[in-house]
């Protein structure tokens, strides 16, 4: 039984591990996740602009998205990177930072339709949302 438990814990640690070198696959994954945050933020901003969200929901959820985007930016800046994709990783880290700042602005103005209306297209552009 203890062996099974050890295996389970080991498996959990293995899969939870988000460190390591950034390769093409990891970059693609992170890039998709960052775009996802921007697009979700754009949806939220659209609802805020139309008065279809609540103050607390918009504030809290925009903050969750901003913090996650910021973490991606930090991780991409800090983690070792394969040389051929170094420039792309730096670009992606900067993009994550820009998205984090836009989402943070939405977090700080959760009831301001004007701000949300201004942020929405920028988030859509950053996330390349269809």
């Amino acid at each position: 039984m203890s062996r099974v438990l050890l295996l389970l814990v080991g498996a959990a640690l293995l899969t939870a591990c988000n460190g390591g070198t950034v390769d093409r696959h990891a970059l693609k994954q992170d890039s998709d996740a960052i775009d996802s945050l921007a697009c979700e933020g754009a949806l939220l901003a659209r609802d805020v602009a139309k008065g279809r969200s609540t103050l607390y929901f918009a504030r809290v959820h925009a903050d969750e998205l901003a913090v996650r985007a910021s973490h991606f930016g930090d991780a991409l800046s800090d983690r070792p990177t394969l040389e051929p994709i170094r420039a792309k990783v730096r670009d992606e880290a900067r993009k994550a930072g820009r998205i984090a700042r836009l989402l943070d602005e939405l977090h700080r103005h959760p009831a301001d339709g004007g701000v949300a209306e201004r942020l929405r297209p920028r988030l859509e552009h950053e996330g390349d949302c269809s």
Partner: protein
């Protein structure tokens, strides 16, 4: 009057069907694969009906709940392994659900998350202490019906109904079959969460079911869980219709609520958040009590919500300790959504350990007499045993190979 009571029970079962695992996996599956995995929900719902109907029948015929049966059938040593596995998964699920309550309250109130974790724990302790079994079921079951907002949202998002219909037929349209399998395993695990069955069979013993209640058992299991599965469909369709084309990965409980806000506005958002709060709150209580039921049944202690705290002191102490342990886990700052994914995967791994003894007992004519499995229950029971074994063996490898569903 009897029909009215059954209807109320079924309503509560529908509202109580969805927990944080269903919310996370159904919406994420929709966002990743559209409607392709709807068929898995059908398999999962039939599976939980088969499993819980057997457990209810065993409880009605023998007055024994799941862990009474496990100890009796497999003995102390093997049973202890099963108990430890079940309790670990239960505790992970409980912590995830409590984190879910706190997030939901935060999305509704804007108050700090950690304060709300403590508030949720205190509220749960009070509710479990003062509320009767019937009322626990009703309050959270009826509150969970607010999740029907997702059914309206799914329709309002105008999915391609032809694509939705084709989702009920197993097919593979993806260049990442491992991820598809991971989500299939997760959806099955979310639908066949073992704590639901522990709680269900313990409730049957608490309510002193006898063979006369077997009709009620069948109705509760088939209609309650069957219609509860309808909410899972709605969640997956919402995820597919709203998030798939935009490339959004719904990694937060807030993302799930956004699925109702976008098509329905503030009303949809509030209904979704209240529904999630009650669904996750009800699941927390079920999980909490299941942990105490399991331990007390296995060790032969006095147990039950119908007994006073002094009538079942070790049972009462157990659920309190579980609550404190869950508090410790959530307070570490672990992400409840990620914890849910691990809990669902590990619950799948542990599922055969309790399913097999129940199947053996339900099939034992010497034990169950005229209430042993009939031909249909037997065929379904054995088919699901193979499904569960296959899913259980593949869950951890798939989790590792897909990086917990991140691809």
């Amino acid at each position: 009057m009897k029909i009215f009571q059954i209807a109320l029970g079924i309503l509560a079962a529908i509202g109580g069907f969805v927990d944080i695992g269903d919310l996370v996996f159904n919406v994420a599956a929709g966002a990743t694969f559209g409607y392709q995995l709807l068929w898995v929900v059908v398999i999962g719902v039939v599976g939980i009906i088969v499993y819980s109907e057997m457990c209810g029948r065993v409880a009605a015929a023998s007055n024994k709940a799941v862990f009474d049966v496990v100890r009796e059938r497999v003995g102390f040593r093997a049973g202890l392994g099963t108990l430890v596995a079940a309790q670990i998964v239960n505790l992970m699920t409980l912590a995830a659900e409590i984190g879910g309550i706190a997030i939901c309250l935060q999305l509704l109130s804007g108050l700090p998350y950690r304060w709300l974790i403590v508030a949720a724990i205190v509220a749960l302790a009070i509710v479990v202490w003062v509320t009767s079994f019937d009322w626990l079921e009703r309050i959270f079951g009826y509150g969970g019906l607010c999740l029907l907002a997702f059914a309206v949202a799914a329709v309002k998002l105008r999915p391609d109904w032809g694509d939705v219909a084709s989702g009920y037929v197993p097919h593979l349209e993806t260049d990442d079959p491992l991820l598809y399998l991971y989500f299939a395993v997760g959806l099955l695990g979310a639908a066949m969460t073992p704590y639901e069955v522990y709680f269900y069979s313990s409730g049957a013993v608490e309510e002193e079911w006898t063979p006369k209640d077997l009709g009620l058992n069948r109705a509760n299991a088939m209609i309650g869980y069957g219609l509860g599965g309808f909410l899972s469909f709605a969640l997956m369709i919402t995820g597919g219709a709203l998030f798939l084309n935009k490339g959004i990965q719904p990694d937060f409980l807030g993302s799930i609520a956004l699925g109702a806000e976008v098509p329905l506005g503030k009303i949809g958002l509030l209904l979704a958040l209240v529904g999630i709060l009650f669904a996750v709150g009800g699941a927390s209580i079920d999980t909490l009590l299941s942990g105490a039921y399991n331990l007390a049944q296995f060790l032969g202690w006095e147990w039950g919500r119908y007994r006073s705290a002094s009538g079942a002191p070790r049972f009462t102490l157990t659920w309190m300790v579980l609550l404190v342990l869950a508090l410790g886990i959530v307070m570490t700052g672990v992400d409840p959504v990620q914890l849910t994914e691990y809990a669902v995967v590990f619950s799948v791994v542990a599922l055969p350990l309790t399913y097999l003894p129940i199947l053996l007992v339900a099939n034992d004519r010497a034990y169950m007499g005229a209430h042993a499995n009939g031909r249909l229950a037997n065929v379904l029971g054995v088919v699901y045993l193979f499904v569960i074994l296959a899913v259980s063996a593949s869950a951890i490898p798939l989790m590792i190979l897909t990086n917990v569903g991140q691809g």
